[in-house]
């Protein structure tokens, strides 16, 4: 088998057109990897500059009432990771800017996709576009005639007569084409690692290794299947058209149809209903800006009882700040309920979508590709969660200062100095480790592994029955 693989590789590289094509492909891959990294680094600089600009504004606050500062709020900008230069995933679809303020959990806005005319339905020319769409097609082109042409010329019989089993011929031919795919993959991965050598830590290494593994698995499926079709079907044309049909089904057709079905199975609320439902729940709670509402009155009585005083003026703290925080906590419960419901639906949609990997290994590849590059929905939701946690801490800090900072109830002139505002730390997003995210991707890994195993078993068990001519 080893000898056949070596021979096959030699024959592949004897074809001058393929050598030129490979060289062109490698240059393209390196350029695409470089341009992906350049774009990511440019975006990182912009994001950093925007973050610094907003922080500068925060740090220049002086003599401001803490609650006014809560309304003034802050902004966080969605960071881009170095690995997203391989696969941008959902980054251009989701917004980039999130406003953090009192009384409100906002949604992330200003997506890149909404800033221009429509360009590409398959995404930018990033390494993932080549790795997911183009290289598999190239592998199909290399493998579709690998056995059938041997059949047509009668060489297959000769090989079998010389002692090679048909099974080993099929596997050897598939593996040689697969190795060609691995070469292109290795160039991309190496390029990525060299260009971004500074930003690669242990977690990134794990991610890149796994990324290489899933792509290798997908290429294995594609090449083995193409070779098998080539062996089973009567003509080159039949084998090529079958594989092209399958490629189209997997990469173009199924992801969209399954995605739309998922959307219909677990429908998300319309923005209007979502907002109205939140407002309705919010209106049932305590209104920090309306001291006369029922809940405010109840809270007032509780506070007076707690501090064992009879009037707000006797309180050692500023009741306005306490009421604002109580308002905030009620609001948080409302946001948790409604945003939580949406996030829950998104997770259900994702799980259902992942099941499409049973019939479509491309879905598993795409899903894990995004996840490993840190540009999938789970990383996005993690960013939103970390930002929301920061917002809650920020507003609580401001409300606590309002309540316990030394002022009395009703003292609207209470203002905090610049030192206080500077003391509040900046939002820093920590990208979750792969260990934390991986639990969402067990299905995809498992399905890819099952595909690899199933295809191997099918080819292994059926290759004996294939006719030699």
């Amino acid at each position: 088998m080893k000898q056949i693989i070596i021979n096959e590789l030699k024959m592949l590289f004897r074809v001058r057109v393929l050598v030129y094509l490979t060289a062109l492909f490698i240059i393209t891959l390196i350029m695409v990897t470089w341009s992906g990294s350049a774009q990511t680094s440019q975006q990182q600089q912009q994001q950093q500059a925007a973050g610094e600009h907003v922080r500068e504004q925060w740090e220049s606050i002086d003599n401001m009432n803490p609650h006014s500062a809560a309304h003034y709020g802050s902004y966080v900008f969605k960071p881009v990771t170095s690995l997203s230069s391989i696969d941008e995933g959902i980054n251009s679809i989701t917004g980039n800017v999130l406003r953090l303020e009192g009384h409100m959990q906002n949604e992330i806005i200003y997506s890149e996709a909404s800033q221009t005319l429509s360009v590409s339905k398959f995404g930018k020319l990033k390494p993932s576009l080549l790795l997911q769409y183009i290289i598999p097609l190239l592998l199909i082109f290399l493998a579709f005639a690998s056995v059938s042409s041997e059949k047509e010329t009668g060489r297959l019989k000769l090989l079998v007569l010389q002692g090679a089993s048909l099974r080993s011929v099929i596997f050897s031919k598939a593996i040689s084409v697969w190795m060609y795919g691995l070469l292109l993959l290795a160039v991309t991965v190496a390029g990525q690692m060299i260009i971004n050598s500074q930003g690669i830590g242990k977690d990134s290494l794990i991610r890149i290794t796994l990324l290489s593994l899933v792509y290798s698995a997908y290429y294995y499926i594609i090449t083995l299947l193409s070779t098998w079709f080539s062996a089973r079907l009567k003509t080159n044309t039949a084998s090529l058209s079958s594989m092209l049909g399958l490629w189209l089904l997997w990469t173009i057709f199924l992801p969209r149809i399954w995605g739309n079905t998922t959307d219909k199975l677990y429908p998300l609320p319309s923005r209007q209903n979502f907002t109205a439902a939140m407002q309705e729940d919010r209106s049932q709670g305590l209104d920090g800006h309306n001291p006369s509402d029922k809940r405010s009155e109840e809270f007032k009585q509780q506070t007076l009882a707690k501090y064992k005083v009879t009037s707000l003026q006797d309180l050692p703290v500023n009741f306005d700040g306490l009421r604002m925080q109580a308002d905030e906590e009620y609001g948080n419960a409302v946001w948790d309920k409604h945003f939580g419901n949406n996030y829950g639906l998104l997770q259900k949609q994702k799980k259902f979508y992942q099941l499409s990997g049973i019939i479509n290994p491309f879905a598993s590849l795409q899903s894990t590709g995004m996840a490993l590059s840190g540009s999938d929905m789970h990383h996005h939701l993690d960013f939103l969660q970390q930002a929301e946690n920061y917002r809650r801490t920020l507003i609580k800090t401001l409300n606590d200062q309002h309540a316990f900072g030394g002022s009395k109830t009703g003292e609207r002139a209470q203002k905090e100095n610049n030192q206080f505002y500077r003391s509040i730390s900046q939002f820093e997003y920590k990208m979750p480790s792969w260990k934390l995210i991986s639990i969402h991707y067990v299905t995809d890994f498992l399905l890819l592994a099952i595909w690899v195993l199933a295809i191997t078993i099918i080819v292994f068990t059926t290759s004996k029955k294939i006719k030699l001519a």
């Binding site: 600009h53 200003y110 005319l117 429509s118 995404g123 149809i257 923005r271």
Partner: protein, 443 residues
């Protein structure tokens, strides 16, 4: 001519015997109907959503007119509200800017899922507000894209054409009886053309039939007949271009497999590689904006205005709106703090308009970059042309943002004029406000 018809008849027999081709055509029709239905569902959903907002607005209007009739100034639990003042009356007069969906949406959903199509407008609104964001959707599904009719046409139709055409003339070369055709005194070019013609007419008739059905269903045939015909012609032109390219591939081809590889490569280059490259270049030249100019205007600059003394604010207002000088308050020597305080939106609106203009200019530069690529990126041209006809492209939403801005301007101006004229708002005036704002949508 008779000869050509005979070739086409024979081609029909060839097609009818090919299960693979029939299944492919069937799948394409299913995909096209699925896409049309997706668009139709979106059209219905948007219309229903808009109708439900309009109904809610009617309830608000009724509620407020009841207050006027009862001589009340607002809701009982909010005693500080006084709808006889222009500020509150305008606040309560529903002003929702809608982007009514075009009846051609089923043919191209375009960028409709990336933008909001209704917005509650206040005098503090802007065209970059968060509530103008797109409908809540799964970002991974948005990234994968929706299978709409235009996707079926732009991407799947060429693929179907490849399946139908790759062995036309190629099979004869595979089996080495292509010379036999020439011996029979058949012109190879015409023979190929007639065979291609059969598939061209088959596809076009089916597509037009499907489109006609949905146009009847949505009313596009009567409401937007001109655009519908343009849409059909665009599809015919697009299909003809692909058929033309494939014709030359087959004419020069040496066999089915080689032809298929060339056709698929062309598809990959035109549909995936070139648009992807242009997309990447746009982002490299114009990185995604974090909108800091707008954020500064809507927060930092706005807060600075709140801190300004009344006289300063009044002076700025008089510069932007010179007509205020002729109002009652404009003629007063002493300025009313409350009126001035409620008029700051006149300045912030201007600030935000300036910031938005900068962002829109950058976006326009990006769009020009994309437009300039059309001569080597035809698929994107067809895509945006289709989106434009169904009013789901960037430009359609830009026009919608302009409508929103008109509504904001109107709200701000009316509030300023009526507040400065110290108008006491009654039911008739309130209803006039309602009419004025709703009429902007109809323009």
């Amino acid at each position: 001519m008779k000869h050509l018809i005979t070739i086409m008849q024979n081609e029909f027999r060839h097609f009818a015997r090919s299960t693979f081709k029939i299944i492919s055509l069937f799948l394409f029709i299913v995909a096209a109907i699925y896409g049309l239905q997706n668009g139709y569902t979106l059209l219905k959903k948007q219309k229903e959503e808009i109708e439900s907002i309009k109904n809610k607005n009617k309830l608000t209007i009724n509620e407020v007119t009841v207050w006027y009739d009862a001589g009340k100034k607002g809701p009982d639990d909010k005693p500080w509200i006084d709808v006889t003042t222009p500020v509150r009356a305008i606040w309560y007069a529903p002003a929702v800017a809608f982007k009514e969906p075009s009846e051609l949406i089923p043919f191209s959903i375009g960028q409709a899922e990336q933008y909001g199509y209704y917005k509650q407008v206040t005098n503090r609104s802007s065209t970059m507000d968060a509530d103008l964001a797109e409908e809540i959707a799964n970002p991974e599904r948005l990234m994968t894209g929706t299978l709409d009719f235009s996707f079926a046409i732009l991407y799947l139709l060429p693929v179907l054409s490849i399946i139908l055409l790759f062995n036309i003339g190629g099979l004869e070369k595979d089996l080495s009886f292509n010379k036999l055709i020439e011996i029979n005194n058949i012109n190879n070019k015409k023979w190929l053309l007639a065979r291609f013609g059969f598939y061209f007419f088959l596809l076009i008739s089916l597509i037009i039939l499907l489109m006609f059905t949905y146009a009847l269903l949505t009313g596009a045939l009567t409401e937007l007949a001109g655009n519908f015909i343009r849409f059909c012609m665009l599809i015919v032109f697009y299909t003809a271009l692909w058929f033309g390219a494939f014709y030359f591939i087959n004419l020069k081809g040496k066999g089915s497999a080689g032809q298929a590889i060339k056709m698929v490569s062309l598809w990959i280059i035109l549909c995936i590689v070139i648009p992807g490259t242009v997309h990447q270049l746009v982002t490299l030249k114009y990185p995604a904006s974090y909108m800091t100019d707008f954020l500064d205007a809507s927060r930092e600059e706005t807060y600075k205005i709140y801190d300004l003394p009344s006289d300063n604010i009044a002076q700025q207002l008089l510069t932007i709106y010179p007509q205020l000088a002729h109002t009652q308050h404009g003629k007063d020597t002493l300025k009313n703090e409350l009126i001035i305080g409620n008029s700051t939106s006149g300045i912030t609106n201007q600030l935000m308009k300036n910031a938005v203009k900068k962002i829109e200019n950058i976006n326009e530069n990006k769009n020009n970059f994309i437009r300039n690529s059309y001569f080597f990126n035809p698929v994107s041209w067809f895509q945006n042309k289709m989106n434009s006809l169904s009013e789901t492209d960037y430009d359609a939403y830009y026009r919608y943002r302009q409508t929103i801005q008109q509504m904001i301007d109107q709200k701000v101006e009316i509030q300023l004029m009526d507040s400065w004229n110290k108008v006491k708002v009654d039911k008739e005036r309130f209803l006039r406000y309602v009419d004025t704002f709703s009429n902007i949508n109809k323009k």
